[in-house]
Subunit: 238 residues, 2 copies
DNA sequence: TGTACATCAGTGAACGCGCGTTCACTGATGTAC
DNA sequence: TGTACATCAGTGAACGCGCGTTCACTGATGTAC
């Protein structure tokens, strides 16, 4: 490990790898996930097509790395939002999460599409891997949020009858282990919270709000305020 | 117009055209919108690639026809639901709309993706066309729904401040012409209702609920009941 | 009813293209002594 | 510090493939008289 020198090669390698990924995402943003092409990336980098194979063993490898990166970045973003919420109140945590999620999605629409949109054609995602692990982290963050809100929100969910068997074992066991006091209805609320953010973000990212509304953020904020209110949480300013 | 005989050719032509579209959608379901290929369609129909050009002038033409069909089918479905709702009550209309929308999306996931997911690579949608007209019809149905519910739902939206200028002119004028009594906050509610259905449906169609929940329909129903409740509408059974 | 002509769905071969991937190679960078 | 060797990013040519699209053609179906 002859530090400074060897890490020069390593650094160049890391930079090139990052550039390949960045260009792949850029192309995806323009034309959908099908347009990720090793040859096009190489062209843009001023390299020969074959040179990419110094960095990724195949196109599928690149897509897998991309996917893992994106899940990781999203999970980090949301965990950070949870940690740095202005106060510990459930309302603040929910709003911080919602803001962070939207900010990430709007700043990185390609990433959002890669994870939540159509699959890359011809790419078969590995059954278990970094993506599954990150999905786990995302669920954990959402469950933490609902757990914080549940003491105040439980009443508003009184009419919802759920059993643990309504959920897949992996989600049910995650919930029961991390938050033993939470009932199944709280897990349902967690998924509905997620979908509520997702609906507005997906419409915005895919351009369906463009012809409807000038400031999608305002609509998103209003919906989140409505959520806070109907859950019976304390208003934001305390 | 030598009826029976000439319409034989016309019928065969219509059947072949429909088959081309059906196969295109089927391929899209398997591999995303990028996988719509004239050659693959011709192969599956036992024809030569060039034969497709008897029915569509180009691949873009096929995609445009597909998109128009899908928008039309969705608009027809939702308009029918509005017309045949069990009673005229706002609650019944909202639930009928929500059911019809989900039923359509789950029965036709390819269609849902074509409209709400990634674009077909290399396809530039025409600026004005059947798609825009159908989108208009969809907005009109949603506005009708909110108009029916507004007398009861207005109170729950008291905190929402909207101006007409918050919306794009096309949407604002559609709302003001069709329902002159509706305030801007009702249009916002309309978009939020749409996005609320969309969130759960998009997650389900794209497979993100598969690892979470056994019966996504139950979650969707629960969310719609919650919506009804928080809007202050009368419960479903009257 | 029969014949001459028009229509037009479908053929088969060809075009040029961009793709992922392989392979023998070059040459600069880094390592060991 | 200098030399011999190893590593490895990148080259350039080639492969086979599927694609959209064009084009001159054939032959069955439909039309007009």
């Amino acid at each position: 490990m002859g530090d400074a020198t060897q890490s020069r090669r390593a650094r160049l390698r890391a930079e090139a790898t990052a550039e390949i990924k960045a260009i792949a995402l850029k192309h995806m943003a323009a034309d959908g996930p099908a347009s990720i092409s090793l040859r096009a990336i190489a062209r843009e980098m001023g390299m020969t097509a074959g040179a990419i194979y110094s960095y990724f063993a195949s196109r599928d490898d690149l897509v897998a790395a991309l996917t893992a990166d994106v899940y990781d970045s999203l999970a980090n973003t949301l965990e950070a939002a949870h940690r740095t919420a202005p106060s510990g109140s459930a309302t603040d945590k929910v709003l911080a999460h919602a803001h962070a999620y939207r900010k990430w999605a709007i700043a990185n629409p390609e990433e959002f599409r890669l994870v939540y949109g159509d699959p890359v054609p011809g790419y078969a995602a590995p059954e278990a891997g970094a993506a599954q692990e990150a999905e786990h982290r995302l669920c954990a963050v959402l469950l933490g949020l609902v757990a914080a809100a549940w003491p105040q929100a439980a009443d508003s969910q009184a009419g919802c009858d759920y059993e643990w068997s309504d959920f897949r074992p992996s989600l049910a066991s995650l919930a029961r282990e991390s938050f033993p006091d939470l009932p199944p209805a709280a897990v349902a609320l967690c998924l509905r919270f997620w979908s509520r953010m997702h609906g507005l973000l997906a419409l915005e990212v895919y351009g369906h709000l463009r012809h409807m509304v000038g400031d999608p953020e305002k609509l998103y904020e209003a919906d989140m305020q409505d959520l806070i209110r109907t859950l019976g949480l304390a208003a934001a300013g305390q």
